[in-house]
């Protein structure tokens, strides 16, 4: 049941629907009654990301066409940008990316989803393999069109001692899902899966993750923060599975969201499935509004209500941004949040 299969076969019944437990808040079958035509070739455009000048290399994929492989040899260090551009209106395309990071290598990957067209359907499948002691930090900037349907699914496999860290920044789409599935070997490997979603109008973003701990001594830390306003909808589904024998697993998951309007919605499902003994696992999930008293305090000092809300929202999500390891990426992420909220704070 995937968008990818539906795009390849033209069979709409392959689309995930609300009957699929893991897709019940991100129904695609009910939304896509007719598959749009395949996207034509499109043209790339200038990348506005502030990091673009500092990268070792950039991969450009337009309407599903472009390079598909990224390899970092053992012991090497790379800072790479990978752009998925959707250039045309009301057409559909799919793309793949295979990332192979060798033993002891280090990769910082800036992955961007950029919508220029409107109402497109985009499906991207990412596979990331980390060798022993490899380090990957993946930062996703998702700037899809408000009428687009966009699905990004990543499968990540770590070797012992590897470290994988991810931060998703998204402003959603008509329907958008960014899913990450991690095969965690334990064995002193570490995973950090973070995200921030800022949704307005009728935008929808779904951050889903599954981390499966299969061995002793694994660490997972997850922090997702979000804000929804107008009639937007945020979905967080985080599942951590600790398989039998994966003792001494240390897993923490947090999801915290702000709802700034009566018609906005958050659906959250944190899950810990533990089949091992002697583990340390915890999750926390909070959903609330901005504090009226704090808002009045800021307004009393002269800050207009909308600006005060933006400032307080920036402050709310900055905890996620601060966890980004790469300094340049951290600054770019902070700038992205400020731009999305139209705040100068």
């Amino acid at each position: 049941m995937t968008l990818s299969t539906a795009l390849k076969t033209g069979d709409l019944s392959a689309l995930p629907s609300r009957r699929d437990e893991d897709w019940r808040w991100t129904d695609l079958r009910g939304l896509l009654k007719v598959l749009p035509p395949a996207s034509p070739q499109g043209r790339a455009w200038f990348w506005e990301n502030p990091l673009s000048g500092t990268l070792d290399m950039t991969g450009g994929v337009v309407n599903g066409r472009g390079p598909t492989d990224l390899a970092v040899d053992a012991g090497e260090e790379r800072f790479v940008g990978w752009r998925f551009m959707s250039a045309t209106d009301a057409t559909a395309h799919g793309a793949e990316l295979w990332v192979d990071v060798g033993e002891g290598a280090k990769l910082t990957l800036i992955e961007s989803y950029e919508g220029r067209g409107t109402g497109y359907v985009s499906d991207v499948a990412v596979n990331i393999r980390l060798g022993k002691d490899a380090i990957v930090e993946r930062i996703i900037f998702a700037d899809d069109d408000a009428d687009a349907i966009s699905v990004v699914t990543a499968d990540v496999a770590l070797a012992p001692g590897a470290k994988f860290a991810q931060t998703v920044l998204t402003s959603g789409a008509r329907r958008q899902r960014i899913e990450t599935r991690v095969r965690h070997p334990g064995a002193h490997a570490e995973v950090r899966l973070d995200g921030a979603y800022l949704l307005d109008a009728q935008r929808h973003a779904d951050l889903t993750s599954v981390v499966t701990h299969g061995g002793l001594d694994g660490v997972t830390s997850q922090l997702t923060k979000g804000m929804v306003t107008d009639q937007a909808r945020g979905v967080f589904q985080g599942r951590i599975v600790v398989e039998k024998g994966a003792d001494q697993t240390d897993a923490r998951m947090g999801h915290h969201a702000l709802i700034l309007s009566d018609k906005a919605e958050i659906d959250a499902k944190p899950e810990l499935l533990i089949f091992a003994d002697d583990v340390s696992c915890a999750h926390g999930n909070t959903i609330g509004a901005l504090d009226d008293e704090v808002l009045f305090y800021a307004e009393q000092r002269g800050i207009p209500e909308a600006e005060a809300k933006a400032m307080l929202t920036v402050a709310f999500v900055c905890e996620v941004i601060e966890r980004i390891g790469h300094e340049g990426a951290r600054d770019a992420a902070a700038a992205w949040v400020v731009r999305k909220l139209g705040s100068e704070a």
């Binding site: 305090y297 920036v314 704070a345």
Partner: protein, 249 residues
Amino acid sequence: MLKIQNLHARVEDKPILKGVTLDVPAGEVHAIMGPNGAGKSTLSYVLTGRDGYEVTEGAATLNGEDLLALEPNERAAKGLFLSFQYPLEIPGVPALTFIRTALNAQRRARGEDEIAAPAFLKLAKEKAAALKIDFEMLKRGLNVGFSGGEKKRMEIFQMSMLSPKFLILDETDSGLDIDALKIVSEGVNALRSPERGMLVITHYQRLLDYIKPDKVHVLAAGRIVASGGPELALQLEAEGYDRIVGAAA
């Protein structure tokens, strides 16, 4: 300066202010004293425009401008500043960012240019030094983890940065020990000027030993029941509220 005429206000369905009339000319400091539940904090919230405080009758103007028609941030831009009884903590927003955002929003609202970052920092350093505030504290989340005294000092710092025309101090003495009270009062006194008016709201006379008012008013059950010079505060302290409030009723 600040003129309040026959002001009535309620919170939900409960009338709290029942006809407050008050005139604070520029250059004067007026104290409002009163027992708990008299409507002191309500008066400060009504003047600054907090949600949930509904004016049912009367008027309030600052330099002739109708305050009640304005949003809270517009009232601030006109020069009205409320020092909160319990200043709020804002994690993730450094004090300097908060104050610069406020200052620039006020300047924009008045049609003035925004202040440039270097000029802002220079001003902040001067004002912080004058109030003996460690500049590093201004880079941390506003009021986060501060003691009661530090929070009140941060209110005075904000006042001196924003240089409002009219100050309302709501129970500024609450939660302060004598040393903190002295520092805060010195900060307030430094802001006294012929162009600026102040309304000092307090339950106890003690604060008025440090911030000397020109006039003292007694608010009880939503009305000003007595007005006089500084000696009225001393009389209240000696005789208690019951006697004066009772005599007026």
